[in-house]
């Protein structure tokens, strides 16, 4: 039957006879529910709604020797998140698992107390009734006044999804271990300082006691000691013993790093990320030791230098009773700087794991798969989604800071401050953040990286400091957070140990979170894709190209009959350079090599879509690097770009321009509106999608998708417009109002293929006349149509080149471009689509474009489609085979084939460039007829 005869004997004709109700009388607690979603409103999303908290959070708890387990603080510090969830009870539950039964005190055979450096333990447990599950990271901190010198703490990641914790266990464990290391390093520093102080106190006490005893002995000349003298002597002996004990403890804590590096599995903080991070500057600080272990030892050793400013106190013989003393708070137990860094790190961890598990898992899968396709993933992918280095840079920015700042040079406060101050640094008036102003010399080598992380790539979770941001942008100065140790002065110190902060946003939190994502810096740099181009070599080619193309006399402002065609189609160019048999450019394609002509200054390129042009055109003297710390994106979009994408409602209606927008219901297309409406429901407890750490923020994607969705619904000629973009024909969006044009460009930008690992060739707002070079640099341009004198030139230049580009007139709702009759865009951009949200549409577009790039990859690297399969096979025959390949095997129409051919061309160029071949920049024009579409 099925190759498994074992099943045959079991095969019976009868079906299930057991009715739905349990006839066996089995109590419900011993059985399993028949239907996983039998209850009303039960769904894969609602299974996580039993918890009393609204979303995942981090809890730090302590097992206090005075009051038992108690919660200390939560991250985020927002009471609404925890809701009615009983933190006290849950702290009791998670702290009741204690595996750190390390011996502290006087071990047998040892005369002095012994510190035991115990390993952290990790536990996943839950409370199924409360619907709360936790990854709990247990650690021990040292406190001179605590029983056995130890204080047990734990950091717990609390979620309503048990599977999320288990499936992310290794990642969680690794991240919390880093936070724990940071906390413990700070604790050792604080503990050592405390010991130093105590030793000074004891030393001072001993001196005082000795002096007193000598005086008494001088006074007592009777030949025997008085009771007071004997008491003093005993006291002195006790102090001396105490000194020896404390010296021993200090020695133990100082030797810890040496002890650790001998262990085989010891892994110090990765110092390499120290160099990657933005914080340290090579010119400002000594080079780190070549050996990371040495570095760590030096670092830790440097922690324990005594402070000269301390004034010793006399210690009375009687210490206070156990319950009289006030235990130190967590902030007091840990060096305040490290404490702040730990909190920042935990904040970033909370953000990283926020959201639905499905999105987290998919992000990991995507990253792995994209890493395997480096040849083609540049086409439509954001580099940060697959580049591990960049991604980790975005993810663990705080960790990098922590690591960087653990460098000994950062721990010695006064020296560093002096250093940074000497280098044009000043303290921010807002938060005492030392800021360096740096005017960088333009370096071409930096182009690619910085371009990828352009202005548009600011992550969601960013918030700009208003003053700082405006200042930095207007002055184009480079602002870089160098060192923020002083900012901890703003930390709120809680008076008592139960320091669960319920106040909305203490100043420390603000400081912390700002620095957390300070790596989300904005860097504006010009780029030049090819350094090998000699401008003069190619200038004549341009001139030829320009002179042979007469404007067709069509005023782009005016209207033209729909079936107007261009007579010059298929006219071969004398400069056609397409000779590579594997190159799949059509016969009608003209290749023109471009040179480095006079750069056109562009003042509209700080926008949300592009970022920076692929070539350098800025004045070198003014090429500044701008870096600054950011907090949350909500403010960013409003502050960075006054005309940027504001509220979704406004922006969506804006796409319709003026009166038409009222016909559309906001709810229908507004992502944020829908999102907000569902926030009130329990299902939104797991907000999705998860916050993205990639360069292109989730918010930006959502808005781009939303604008694109609106575009395809409102503009019946969306297909030819998208076709133009996908087949490499520059699309110019012409309009009077900048914000409207920007929105259209944002909508269309998601369809623009990249040319390499640089920014998308999109210029959202151009206010200068078009130049031939622009067609090489940009594939999507927002062009100003204004009343100013310069606008005449703009329109003139547009008329001149309009034959070679598609023009979408945003004001008149017209489109001039080649016709599209394929099938692919019907599926990619169907105006009848029931997709409701921009983010969903963005995902749909992404999957369809991935499908397209897979076809392009196949076409590019399928040898027999491009190479002769028999001797003396003609080019024509190969071309026919190529066409048949596209049509039959890939099932593509003529227009869709052109798209694949264009993508294939980009793949080849990129492949050759990556393999070290010097390529000349290519300017391509297609002589194909334009049609005028109107609404």
């Amino acid at each position: 039957m099925i190759g498994s005869p074992d099943l045959v004997p079991f095969t019976m004709e009868e079906g299930y006879e057991e009715p739905f109700h349990g006839a066996s009388g089995l109590p419900e607690e011993y059985t399993v529910p028949l239907f996983p979603f039998s209850q009303a409103n039960s769904s894969p999303w609602s299974r996580l709604c039993a918890a009393k908290f609204s979303r995942d959070f981090i809890l730090i708890s302590e097992f206090s020797e005075q009051v038992g387990p108690q919660p200390l603080l939560t991250i985020p510090d927002d009471q609404r998140i925890c809701g009615e969830f009983d933190l006290n009870y849950f702290s009791l539950r998670i702290m009741s698992v204690d595996y750190q039964a390390s011996f502290v005190g006087h071990p047998p055979g040892s005369s002095y107390p012994k510190l035991n450096f115990v390993e952290d333990s990790k536990v996943v447990l839950g409370d199924s009734k409360e619907g709360a599950f936790a990854y709990v990271h247990h650690l021990t901190l040292y406190d001179l006044e605590a029983r056995g010198f130890v204080r047990p703490f734990c950091m717990a990641y609390i979620s309503m999804d048990e599977e999320k914790i288990m499936r992310q266990f290794l990642e969680l464990s690794s991240d919390f271990s880093k936070a724990s290391k940071c906390l413990k390093t700070g604790n050792r520093k604080a503990f050592a300082n405390e010991l130093e102080k105590k030793l000074r106190d004891l030393d001072y006490t001993r001196t005082v006691l000795q002096r007193e005893m000598e005086e008494q002995m001088k006074a007592d000349d009777k030949g025997f000691y008085t009771t007071q003298t004997i008491d003093k002597a005993n006291e002195l002996a006790s102090v001396e013993k105490s000194i020896i004990e404390h010296q021993d403890l200090l020695k133990q804590i100082q030797l810890y790093p040496y002890r650790k590096i001998k262990e085989p599995d010891f892994q110090p903080y990765e110092p390499e990320s120290l160099q990657d991070s933005d914080v340290p500057n090579e010119s400002e600080q000594p080079l780190p030791p070549s050996n990371p272990e040495e570095s760590l030892v030096e670092e830790e050793s440097s922690l324990y230098h005594p402070r000269s400013s301390y004034t010793p106190k006399f210690i009375k013989a009687k210490s206070s009773k156990c319950f009289d003393k006030k235990l130190k708070t967590l902030e007091e137990l840990v060096d305040i700087y490290f404490f702040t860094q730990t909190i920042d790190l935990l904040t970033s961890i909370e953000k990283r794991y926020r959201g639905d598990l499905s999105y987290l898992l998919m992000k990991q899968l995507e990253k792995g798969l994209l890493e395997q396709q480096t040849v083609s993933n540049f086409l439509f992918e954001d580099i940060a989604t697959w580049d591990a280095k960049l991604s980790s840079m975005h993810c663990s920015n705080t960790l990098a800071l922590v690591q960087a700042l653990q460098n000994p040079t950062f721990l010695e406060e006064p020296g560093n401050l002096k250093n940074s101050a000497s280098l044009e640094s000043y303290k921010s008036s807002v938060e005492s953040v030392p800021i360096k102003i740096e005017q960088e010399v333009f370096e071409e080598g930096n182009h690619q990286e910085t371009a990828e992380r352009g202005v548009s790539d600011i992550p969601d979770n960013c918030e700009f400091n208003d003053v700082d941001f405006k200042g930095s942008v207007s002055s184009s100065d480079s602002i870089e957070v160098l060192r923020t140790e002083k900012s901890v002065a703003l930390l709120t110190h809680s008076e008592s140990q139960p320091c669960l902060r319920l106040s909305p946003q203490p100043p420390r939190r603000k400081v912390g979170s700002r620095r957390t994502i300070s790596e989300d810096s904005i860097e504006v740099l010009s780029t030049c894709p090819s350094e090998s181009v000699i401008p003069e070599d190619f200038r004549p080619a341009y001139q030829i190209a320009i002179h042979e193309e007469d404007p067709d006399g069509v005023d782009v402002d005016g209207e033209q009959p729909c079936n107007s065609t261009n007579n010059e189609e298929n006219e071969p160019s004398p400069n056609d350079l397409s000779g590579d048999p594997a190159c799949c450019m059509g016969a009608e394609t003209l290749l023109a090599q471009t040179g480095n002509v006079t750069p056109v200054p562009n003042d509209g390129d700080i926008n949300k879509v592009v970022s920076v042009p692929p070539q350098s055109y800025r004045n070198m003297d003014h090429a500044f690097q701008v870096k600054f710390s950011v907090d949350r994106a909500e403010n960013h979009s409003n502050k960075v770009s006054p005309h940027g994408l504001s509220s979704p409602e406004a922006e969506s209606t804006y796409l319709m321009s003026s009166g038409e927008s009222v016909r559309l219901s906001i709810e229908e297309y507004s992502d944020s509106t829908s999102y907000r409406s569902s926030t009130s429901t329990c299902s939104d407890r797991t907000p999705s999608p998860a916050p993205c750490v990639s360069g292109l923020s989730e918010r930006h994607r959502r808005k781009a998708g939303q604008n694109a969705l609106m575009f395809i619904r409102q503009y019946p000629f969306s297909h030819p417009a998208i076709y133009s973009l996908l087949c490499g024909r520059t699309l110019i969006v012409l309009g009077e109002e900048e914000a409207f044009v920007r929105r259209l460009v944002t909508a269309l930008s998601i369809f623009v293929p990249n040319h390499g690992h640089v920014a998308k060739p999109v210029n959202t707002w151009m206010t200068s006349p078009l130049h031939i070079m622009d067609f090489q640099k940009w594939k999507l341009i927002g062009l100003q149509r204004g009343g100013s004198p310069s606008s005449t030139n703009i329109l003139h230049s547009l008329n001149r080149y309009s034959r070679y580009a598609s023009v979408l007139d945003a004001d008149h709702k017209t489109l001039r471009c080649p016709v599209y009759k394929g099938a692919f865009l019907q599926r990619l951009a169907d105006h009848r689509t029931q997709i409701r949200r921009g983010s969903t549409y963005y995902m749909h577009v992404q999957s369809m474009l991935t499908q397209l790039s897979a076809k392009a990859f196949l076409f590019t690297f399928c040898h027999h489609a491009h190479l002769p399969i028999r001797e003396k096979e003609s080019e024509e025959s190969i071309a026919q085979r190529r066409a048949a390949f596209l049509r039959q095997l890939l099932g593509l129409s003529e227009e869709d084939s052109k798209i694949v051919e264009y993508l294939s061309e980009l793949l080849k160029m990129h492949y050759l460039r990556e393999s070290g071949t010097q390529l000349l920049p290519v300017l391509r024009f297609d002589y194909i007829p334009n049609f005028l579409y109107k609404i």
């Binding site: 009715p19 739905f20 066996s24 894969p44 609602s46 009741s96 839950g126 798969l369 569902s678």
Partner: protein, 461 residues
């Protein structure tokens, strides 16, 4: 006075288990919360080994501590909670299943734990779900037996040994995380070189429709393993770690919960698949016979879940009604229950044809083998499918307001997401099911349950 004295501590019974090869499992323990003495260990299972990594004292110490804090246990009735410990100080990981049980009228808290060395953490984590699912079910059965006042040690032994064997077999014959494409069918010059093209298309298509869960049987270990590796190419690295190659000398047992497993036929040319374990697998299974080139598949997830739960309920019900030891034989219980006659025709022909796999296989063989081209193309293919799966989840999420409304626009979904072919939809749904469990039941469950109810009602006439 005598009543105030604590009862004598019962001796900890121990079972030594002979395992072929290396056993990553150090020990398994069964502990309970004694109302007077606190946590106590009742039974220890450990593999027979010359090198004792954990002494009985250490095992007892660890097992006792799995119940630490459980005096505060606040669980729903019948809940079986999982606790997972990584104890660097002791160098071990412990997985504990904590449950309440009623033994001779005394309600108490129990813990069934397995202990592994910490060095096996990465090895164990992908298998965690499998181990927990299997231990959970045996606890369900054990609880019923405890209710009857019987010792459940024997019952637990019946599951602890197979888990030890499973971990040991994965250690020796697990599929590597990275698969060399040259060791698979995808490195053939042409689609029909190793096996018939249609067979390969059916095998991969069905494998993907059943959430990547497949059993490959055959007489030649080489052929079976080639197919196992080929199918594993379509799994995530974590899922591959939960798959097993075929042993050439003698076949392994079928293990419920693995993604892909290769099994060798016996001398008579057959392999006995245990019905119960196939039913208890988390996903439906594809059965691929590389000798006779047949591909059969179980019904989709929602039907599989429904059948599985009915079977489980029937099994537990039968156990509840059983009155003697003989009646609780591991495989005989269902058949002793006259009211339960499951339909064992669970493997069917492939119902839904797809275009994804067919087009992929048509295209991938156009690329030259022995280069990285095919691997790249495969990665692109998988990326497309995964992205479609996530889009599908988001689409349903939007449409139903995260499950608050029923989903009624399947037709629109198919059109909007370009999933016109039924097979395509099922492949994407299967991928989505793995990252959003319960999606099938949510989308198709209600209509299916209605039809099942109607059928049952009709059958009563």
């Amino acid at each position: 006075m005598a009543n105030l004295c604590p009862p004598p501590s019962p001796a900890v019974a121990k079972t030594l288990i002979s395992i072929d090869g290396y056993s990553p499992l150090l020990a398994a323990t069964f502990a309970y919360w004694d109302n007077i003495l606190g946590p106590r260990v009742r039974h220890i299972w450990s593999p027979k080994s010359d090198h004792v990594l954990l002494s009985d004292g250490e095992i007892t110490f660890l097992a006792n501590h799995t119940l630490n804090g459980e005096i505060l246990r606040n669980a729903e009735s019948g809940a079986i909670d999982v606790k997972f410990f990584v104890l660097s100080e002791k160098g071990v990981i412990i997985v504990s299943l904590i449950f309440d049980g009623n033994w001779n009228g005394d309600r108490s808290t129990y813990g069934l734990s397995i202990i592994l060395p910490q060095s096996e953490l990465a090895f164990y984590l992908p298998l965690h779900k499998v181990c927990v699912a299997r231990l959970t079910h045996i606890i369900r059965k054990g609880r019923i037996w405890m209710h009857k006042g019987q010792s459940i040690t024997h019952m637990l032994t019946g599951e602890v040994i197979p888990i030890m064997e499973l971990l040991s077999s994965i250690k020796s014959h697990g599929v590597p995380e990275e698969i060399d494409i040259t060791s698979t069918v995808l490195n053939d010059d042409d689609i029909g070189d190793s096996c018939h093209g249609d067979f390969l298309i059916n095998a991969i298509s069905s494998h993907m429709q059943t959430c990547g869960c497949s059993v490959v049987v055959g007489s030649s270990a080489e052929k079976v393993n080639k197919m196992v590796r080929t199918l594993c190419l379509f799994l995530s690295p974590t899922e591959r770690k939960c798959s097993r190659l075929c042993r050439s000398e003698s076949s392994f047992q079928y293990e419920s919960g693995l993604f892909v497993q290769g099994l060798l036929k016996d001398a008579t040319g057959s392999f006995v698949l245990p019905f119960r374990q196939v039913m208890y697998a988390p996903y439906p299974t594809t059965h691929i016979d590389v000798d006779i080139f047949t591909v059969k598949q179980m019904p989709p997830c929602h039907e599989h879940t429904y059948n599985q739960r009915r079977y489980m309920r029937a099994e537990l019900g039968a156990l509840w009604k059983a009155t003697s030891d003989e009646e609780i034989g591991m495989d005989s219980v269902i058949h002793s229950d006259e009211t339960f006659t499951p339909n064992l025709n669970i493997f069917q022909d492939i119902l839904h044809r797809d275009t994804f796999v067919k087009n992929f296989l048509d295209q991938v063989f156009q690329l030259k083998p022995n280069l990285s081209l095919r691997s790249t193309f495969l990665a692109q293919f998988l990326l497309v499918l995964h992205r479609k799966a996530l889009t599908l989840i988001k689409y349903i999420e939007d449409d139903t307001q995260k499950g608050k409304k029923p989903f009624k626009s399947l037709r629109s979904l198919k059109t909007d997401l370009d999933l016109a072919a039924e097979g395509d939809l099922y492949i994407i749904m299967a991928l989505a099911e793995k990252i959003k469990p319960g999606l099938h039941s949510f989308i198709f469950g209600s209509s299916f349950h209605t039809s099942m109810q109607e059928r049952d009602v009709l059958m009563t006439f």
